[in-house]
């Protein structure tokens, strides 16, 4: 099974604070990997390290390597902007641009020089269908994206991300701001998407990680305590800390 991203001996500092300690992990191709763990233990920090979104924060330092298809994303020739085209991201709160649905989806492509209207129209239809949103919005593609419900907006953000045809999609608690039905729709969507994309999802819901992920990593105080197939982590975890966390006896 192919390794898409390899994290080697990664240390991450916010100024003097060591937020990630000696992380070693493989992210497997076209699988869903879940990051679980209590708040503030480094899950989102690691996620953002994978597409260099941490570059926008002052005073961060990184030791170690993150290899994307074998290329060191921090010390190699890979331009961060180029990296982010290949590694997309969906955020916790849906954040569509205050533009029309159409413009939201083609925003990334247009800024990369794609001008042909036929191509753009195709992409809009393909991605909206891909996120099961097409039937719901096909008559209001030129209306504002802000008129959509929360669940629809989040699916739009996913469509916007996949319009760039990334290889990896990073998701930072994508359903935590949504109601159960929207959550279920998006989980169903992710199971479909993993046929074409490698997905990493940070989640506070262990049930969600159990439902949809193939691999799960348990984080605690900036370290990965355990990383294994999801079924094993949730039925026979090897580390007591993992067991305590997932059985809710943490404290």
């Amino acid at each position: 099974m192919g390794v898409r991203i390899k994290i080697e001996n990664l240390d991450f500092y916010y100024g003097k604070f060591k937020a990630l300690k000696n992380i070693n992990m493989n992210i497997y191709d076209k699988k869903i990997t879940a990051f679980i763990g209590p708040s503030g233990c480094g899950k989102s920090t690691l996620l953002r390290t994978l597409n260099r979104m941490n570059d926008f924060v002052d005073g961060v330092k990184i030791d170690g390597k993150v290899l994307f298809d074998g290329i060191d994303i921090y010390n190699g020739d890979l331009d961060p902007v180029e990296l982010r085209r290949k590694v997309g991201m969906v955020f916790q709160r849906p954040n569509p641009f205050p533009k029309t649905i159409y413009e939201n989806i083609v925003f990334g492509l247009k800024n990369n020089g794609v001008k042909d209207k036929k191509i753009l129209d195709d992409v809009v239809e393909r991605t909206l269908k891909g996120v099961y949103l097409y039937d719901e919005v096909k008559n209001k593609i030129n209306k504002s994206a802000l008129d959509l419900s929360g669940g629809q907006q989040q699916r739009l953000c996913i469509a916007r991300a996949i319009a760039m045809q990334p290889e990896v999609i990073l998701m930072d608690e994508p359903t935590s701001a949504l109601d159960p039905i929207s959550t279920a729709k998006i989980e169903e969507l992710l199971l479909e998407l993993k046929k074409d994309y490698t997905i990493i999802i940070v989640t506070h819901s262990m049930q969600q990680a159990a439902r949809i992920s193939d691999y799960t990593a348990f984080f605690l105080s900036g370290e990965v305590i355990e990383f294994d197939e999801t079924s094993k982590i949730f039925s026979v975890p090897r580390d007591k800390r993992t067991e305590d966390y997932i059985t809710g006896r943490f404290g």
Partner: protein
């Protein structure tokens, strides 16, 4: 401590399984005693006592389902509940076998035994030890103990074979003893099944602790 209420319920669940095991153990002993003493009154009570065991099984099953539905148990908690569900099934079957023995006792009635019963009580003793040990293994999550009990099952099987040989020899010499002879064979079979169920219980205990399902026999 977090999940204190849940821990209490898990603890209560374990206690109930233990209680059910003890009830089954007692029932088997009582049934054997009724057989050996040919006490027909005592044998007639066995079935009613088994009803109590069946009721307890349903109670425990209900509690397990409730915990699964409402508490989202994972890992060790989940394996415990899954193990409990299977263990009570085995225990219930063991209770049924005690009733079966009682039925045979009633069928034999006051007819004198065609041979002194030696191996059959020995088998019952082994079963009693196995049940007692496996309940302890369950309570203490003791994998090593659970594995040892499998060895006792071999002894029970050996004794069962001996009973078969002896009874068949006797029947071969005197065909008129067939009726009681076959009933004695049934009793040996029931006791062997009781030992097998106890071995199943040990397999569940090993799964509960290690997460690995291993066949012992």
């Amino acid at each position: 401590m977090l999940r204190e209420g849940f821990d209490k319920r898990i603890s209560g669940l374990k206690d109930k399984v233990f209680q059910m095991g003890n009830m089954v153990d007692s029932l088997i002993s009582e049934s054997m005693e009724a057989l050996l003493n040919q006490d027909l009154e005592a044998a007639a009570q066995i079935e009613k006592k088994d009803d109590k065991i069946d009721k307890l099984e349903m109670e425990i099953e209900g509690e397990c389902m409730n915990l699964l539905t409402l508490q989202q148990p994972l890992a060790g908690d989940l394996r415990l509940i899954a193990a409990a569900l299977k263990i009570i099934t085995d225990l219930e079957r063991m209770g049924d076998h005690a009733v079966n023995i009682a039925h045979v006792t009633l069928e034999i009635g006051k007819e004198p035994f065609i041979k002194p019963l030696i191996d059959i009580p020995k088998m019952a003793d082994y079963c009693h030890n196995m049940i007692e040990e496996s309940l302890n293994a369950f309570a203490n999550a003791d994998v090593e103990k659970a594995k040892k009990i499998a060895e006792m099952d071999e002894e029970v099987d050996k004794l069962s074979d001996r009973v078969f040989e002896d009874v068949i020899d006797i029947i071969a010499e005197n065909k008129g003893l067939l009726k009681q002879g076959s009933k004695l064979l049934f009793i040996a079979r029931y006791l062997e099944r009781i030992a097998d169920h106890t071995t199943n219980i040990c397999e569940r205990i090993i799964y509960m602790v290690t997460g690995v399902y291993k066949e012992i026999n």
